[in-house]
């Protein structure tokens, strides 16, 4: 078991290292950020001074080793634009993004499972067909388009929900969240739904497929023969068994929610780390881009590792098969 975990962790580290190298060189080889940071009326000497103060005058490999050395001390470089440590900037924005992703996950579960369950139990019901059609649309609609439509309908036409920002308590970072105020909830509802749409579709499909499979099992027939009520059969015996794959997939998808929040946060002006990334790309604020990528890749690797370990605990075949997949 320990050997399995160590091997997985080793692979994860390798992935992180590969991404650090690719992203650092990729981002730093293209273009010279000094020209974006200096004003046109600066003299040659002043420009050189700016370049020197940011360490941009040194050879690329020297910058790289300096950077790796920094990472080992928890320093991912300093933002060119804000002048503060990049990791600080990102960690400041992270709670807002995590909050959004968690609410999106919650929506995916409370909307997706009942709808999928229904579609699985009554596959020929017109409502089920409607649900499945919506889930297909959910897969093919671009996230940003749905966001626009949500704003158009609920913010502009109906005026029910605010279009941008985080609402009350939004300006406080740290553990404070906008989930404790009504205003905060009215702000988070649209972006979270927008972010969740893809996952809702996914959960609907998983729940439907699971329900159809489980309904045919002997233990369901037995439960029915025993005279259990319908609600108990569905609520306990079916639900419990379809939950396993759904929980696994949603665990893995949490990372992708964080990544997709770049789009949603930009549309709804949600002050999270996705919006920060986009601003950094537009201003060529390299340290922030590199730091964001590293943090997200680490997040992905850690989530995958946890899921792998849980899996191997649940299903010994995974770790006994030996060959590193």
């Amino acid at each position: 078991m320990l050997a399995f975990i160590l091997r997985r962790a080793g692979q994860g580290l390798l992935v992180i290292l590969a991404m650090v190298v690719i992203v650092f060189f990729g981002v730093n080889v293209v273009g010279d950020p000094v020209w974006i940071l200096v004003s046109p009326d600066m003299t040659q000497d002043q420009i050189a001074e700016v370049s020197r103060s940011l360490g941009l005058d040194r050879p690329i490999w020297e910058q790289f080793f300096h950077f790796v050395g920094g990472i080992l001390q928890g320093d991912l470089g300093r933002s060119f634009v804000h002048g503060t440590p990049a990791i600080r900037l990102i960690l400041d924005r992270m709670p807002a993004t995590i909050e959004l992703a968690l609410v999106a996950l919650f929506l995916a579960v409370i909307l997706g499972i009942p709808l999928g369950l229904f579609a699985g139990l009554k596959p020929d019901h017109p409502l089920s067909r409607g649900v499945m059609a919506v889930s297909i649309l959910g897969f093919s609609l671009p996230t940003f388009w749905v966001g626009l439509m949500l704003i158009m309908v609920f913010a502009v036409m109906l005026g029910w929900l605010p279009a941008t920002g985080r609402g009350d308590l939004g300006s406080f970072f740290g553990i404070t969240t906008s989930l404790v105020t009504l205003d905060g909830w009215s702000h988070i509802l649209m972006p979270a739904f927008n972010l969740a749409l893809l996952k809702i579709s996914l959960v609907i499909r998983l729940a439907r497929a699971g329900t159809r499979e489980v309904s045919l099992q002997d233990y369901i027939k037995f439960a029915r023969a025993k005279g259990l009520s319908r609600s108990r059969i569905i609520g306990v015996h079916v639900l419990k068994n379809i939950l396993i794959p759904i929980v696994t997939v949603l665990g893995l998808e949490f990372g992708s929610l964080v990544a997709f929040s770049v789009v949603t946060e930009t549309i709804f002006a949600w002050p999270g780390m996705g919006k920060l990334l986009l601003e950094a790309i537009q201003r060529l604020d390299r340290p922030v881009i590199v730091a964001y990528v590293i943090i997200v890749v680490v997040l992905f690797v850690v989530i995958n590792l946890i899921v792998d370990i849980l899996y191997s605990l649940l299903d010994p075949r995974v770790r006994l098969s030996g060959a590193p997949a």
Binding site: P142, F144, W145, L148, I151, A155, V263, I267, L278, V293
Partner: protein
């Protein structure tokens, strides 16, 4: 495909000999919605190709634009006298015309990036399946690594390296998508590699390249076509997303995504049409491609054959 005959539709003229292609067409046509999707998509492609001849205004000829016409609601009369059916944007461009021209760019970027990605992915996937061993291991590790990260994140990282512009976006889309093709091709090529005809070709002393490209590849085409259809829709959507975020195509290359992005700032003041109609065009394009792709998956997948 097996020799089991699919029901020949009554519409078939005379008693024609059943070829695989005819059977394929007949099966595809069984699903009305997919046929409708194909029809709509054909119309969209035609509209894009014929844009200069069927639009009332060339939205990129500065001489034709009049700032007096900007942000007019749908149905208004332009200074030139023609009716702006879908209104105009902040530059005084007719939205209807801009959509047609935008479709050209969106479709071209999607199609070109998919074609290149398919070629690269197919080659790499075939090499992996045929060579086996270390080469395969290395390639598939790379594919796994790439597919474990969401496409949008990868695309954002790549555009942050390359910058804006059609060529750069196409390169980024290719790099994001080749892995899907490589994985698909490797999967089916592995199956084909073990079959007798490959053994026979090898016994005949044919060159590796000939075996791979003339014998194995044609038998792997069905899943590739399915992936290519779905990925084209995906790449159009991805390009639109990047352009909407302001990191995709430049203002001088106004794809649908750029048009939607331009209108976004006016949306909160109730001028919905600048973003809404290009968005609708994008949506119809993507959905119609996906409908066709879904049907192709059903028809071309031998495991699902009745």
């Amino acid at each position: 495909m097996s020799s089991k005959a699919a029901p020949v539709p009554a519409a078939a003229p005379a008693a024609q000999e059943e070829t695989p292609f005819r059977r394929f067409v007949a099966q595809f046509a069984e699903d009305r919605i997919a046929v409708a999707g194909l029809l709509v998509f054909t119309l969209i492609v035609l509209a894009a190709l014929l844009a200069p001849w069927i639009t009332p205004q060339n939205p990129y000829s500065l001489a034709k634009l009049d700032l007096m016409d900007s942000r007019l609601p749908p149905g208004s009369k332009a200074g030139d006298g023609f009716t702006m059916m879908l209104g105009s944007d902040g530059f005084g461009r007719d939205i209807f015309s801009a959509i047609f021209y935008g479709l050209r760019i969106s479709l071209a970027v999607g199609a070109i990036s998919c074609l290149i990605a398919a070629t690269v992915g197919m080659t790499v996937g075939l090499i992996a399946a045929y060579a086996g061993g270390r080469v395969e291991n290395l390639i598939m590790r790379l594919v796994d690594l790439q597919l474990s990260l969401p496409a949008i994140l990868l695309a954002l990282i790549l555009v942050s390296m390359f910058g804006k512009g059609v060529d750069k976006i196409i390169i980024a889309l290719v790099l994001v998508q080749w892995a899907y093709y490589a994985r698909t091709v490797r999967g089916s090529a592995l199956v084909e590699r073990g079959k007798d005809y490959v053994e026979a070709a090898r016994c005949l002393g044919l060159s590796h390249a000939r075996i791979v490209f003339r014998h194995i590849l044609p038998n792997c085409l069905a899943p590739i076509i399915v992936v290519a259809t779905v990925q084209t829709a995906h790449s159009i959507s991805l390009e639109a997303t990047l352009s909407f975020l302001g990191v995709g195509l430049a203002q001088t290359e106004p794809s649908l995504g750029v048009l939607i992005s331009n209108g976004f700032q006016y949306m909160l003041s109730g001028k919905y049409w600048i973003s809404f109609f290009p968005g609708l065009a994008l949506l119809v394009t993507i959905v119609s491609i996906n409908l066709v792709g879904d049907r192709l998956r059903d028809v071309l997948n031998p495991r699902l054959e009745k």
